[in-house]
């Protein structure tokens, strides 16, 4: 058997994808112009698939902070914090994130992926139980492969499914760690967190929530679903990323657990990789200040979500279950999704295409992510373009025939 034979199925699917002309997994942004525009294939293109929820990648104050930090402290740390030590900036950032959540401890990682991978696989060890939502992000699934704990999946966003699985554990000794996400990355739906927390309390389980897509977007002060549902104190571990709303790269985990810092000498994805460079840390600290100082960005984001979601729904598109900064547009199959995606790129609009096995329940999606600094005109233009392509590809019915039916 050849080295790549085991991937034969995937290679075939990938070949299918590429027959459409462009390879969605190798798009080149020839030049990024702003949080909402880039040159792709020589053409100015609207970006609606970059998780840049607040548009902070081009925020002047964040850029200046990063430039200043490079001048002062250089371009990189050239090692991990346990080997090369922490810079003042790392420690300050951790304090600021801990304060933001009102938690005692924070650990910063080089990516959110590494935060999930390391924290989850270390928290639940041999003899423990890890219970994860079926639609969990790849970083959570990968953590499950690394842990010695028993891993059980429960049905997506279904507290009764979690309840049944915790009940079945009965009085077997071992910690129970439940992993949830604030906003799910494919369909933009939120977890029924309060109900989940109630179930966890009933069985004495720890709650870890990944707020990757909800930081900034949810909650009175942008702390995420744990804040908007009023259960911040009941979430034992909150993980997040700097790579979306905060416009840079990196991950974190906060907690009140008095022994939390032991993770610094046990989590391998923290110990054995280089720490974030000073420029990133500086821009993230500034981005966090912007999130606190400009709650209007959150309102702009949700106004834009409403424009896009309601606009597409009105045209007859089948969408994810609720408003969210991620808007997932369902398409009947993989090839249609890829054809649709390509037609949009030709029309100057970039979104993500998500097809099985990367999607829940084998669905094919156009995954759009909304930005606070998208203009209403940009989004209305996008709805118009998508409607045209949808009719052309037969995804949307003839509007004349639809009038009678009215609702979706």
């Amino acid at each position: 058997m050849g080295l790549f034979d085991r991937h034969a199925g995937l290679l075939e699917a990938y070949r299918d994808v590429r027959t459409t002309g462009y390879d969605p997994f190798q798009i080149r942004m020839e030049r990024v112009l702003s949080p909402t525009e880039a040159i792709i294939n020589g053409k100015k293109t609207l970006l609606v698939g970059t998780n840049n929820y607040f548009g902070l990648t081009f925020d002047e104050s964040c850029k200046e902070a990063a430039i200043e930090a490079i001048r002062a402290e250089g371009t990189g740390t050239t090692g991990s914090r346990i080997a090369n030590g922490s810079y003042n900036e790392h420690v300050a950032l951790e304090q600021e994130i801990a304060e933001f959540y009102g938690k005692k401890h924070c650990m910063v990682f080089t990516t959110g992926y590494q935060a999930n991978l390391g924290v989850i696989s270390t928290l639940a060890g041999e003899g423990d139980f890890l219970l994860i939502d079926a639609d969990s992000h790849a970083s959570i699934y990968d953590a499950c492969k690394m842990t010695q704990a028993e891993v059980v999946r429960f049905k997506h966003n279904d507290p009764s499914s979690l309840d049944a699985r915790l009940r079945r554990l009965g009085d077997r000794p071992g910690n129970r760690v439940v992993v949830l996400e604030g906003i799910y990355s494919m369909l933009g739906d939120s977890a029924p967190l309060r109900e989940f927390v109630d179930v966890c309390k009933k069985y004495g389980a720890y709650v870890l929530i990944d707020e990757a897509h909800s930081l900034g977007a949810l909650g009175e002060t942008g702390r995420g679903l744990c804040e908007s549902t009023g259960v911040l104190d009941d979430c034992h571990f909150i993980v997040g990323t700097f790579s979306k709303t905060l416009g840079a790269i990196g991950g974190y985990c906060v907690s009140d657990d008095p022994d939390f810092d032991i993770l610094r000498v046990t989590v391998r994805s923290y110990m054995f990789t280089a720490s974030l460079p000073p420029s990133i840390v500086a821009s993230v600290r500034q981005a966090l200040r912007v999130v606190k100082a400009k709650p209007e960005l959150r309102k702009q984001l949700w106004d834009n979500v409403a424009t896009l979601y309601d606009g597409l729904a009105a045209k007859g598109f089948k969408l994810g279950p609720e408003h969210g900064p991620v808007v997932g547009v369902h398409l009947p199959d993989r090839m249609l999704a890829i054809g649709f995606w390509r037609a949009m790129l030709d029309a100057g609009i970039y979104v993500n295409v998500a097809v099985p096995p990367a999607t829940p329940n084998g669905v094919s999606l156009l995954r759009c992510s909304v930005c606070a600094v998208h203009t209403a005109e940009q989004l209305e233009h996008m709805i118009e373009v998508m409607t045209g392509i949808g009719r052309q590809l037969g995804v949307l019915g003839d509007p004349k025939l639809r009038v009678v039916g009215g609702t979706r």
Binding site: A134, C144, E150, V151, V152, R153, F154, K155, S161, A164, R165, R168, L169, P356, P357, P360, N361, G362
Partner: protein, 100 residues
């Protein structure tokens, strides 16, 4: 008195559990796998789930969740990873069910 009563219910429960028939488990598994059958080849005990059928790994895990709820057991993911055939899946379900 109370202790005696508890003992009674335990015995009755155990006897009821042990009556879960292999045929019932096989029937339930086949019901879930039927949509993934290839051609005329029947689904039997030594059908290799991931190879002889058109089911992908995610759909296998989703089927496992359904079976878990049907038989009120949990099959840990690392145990699922070791299961290859329909027979092995049925054995695992029967074993976990008996241990409840």
């Amino acid at each position: 008195m109370i202790v005696e009563n508890d003992g009674m219910t335990d015995t009755i429960d155990l006897r009821r559990e042990s009556t879960l028939a292999r045929g019932e488990v096989m029937g339930e598994i086949c019901h879930h796998l039927l949509p993934y059958q290839t051609g005329e080849k029947p689904i039997v005990g030594d059908t290799v789930i991931a190879k002889d059928l058109t089911i992908d790994s995610l759909a296998i895990m989703d089927m496992v969740m359904e079976l878990e709820d049907r038989f009120d057991i949990s099959i840990p993911m690392n145990v699922v990873a070791e299961i290859h055939t329909v027979d092995q899946l049925a054995d695992t379900i029967l074993k976990l069910h008996a241990r409840r």
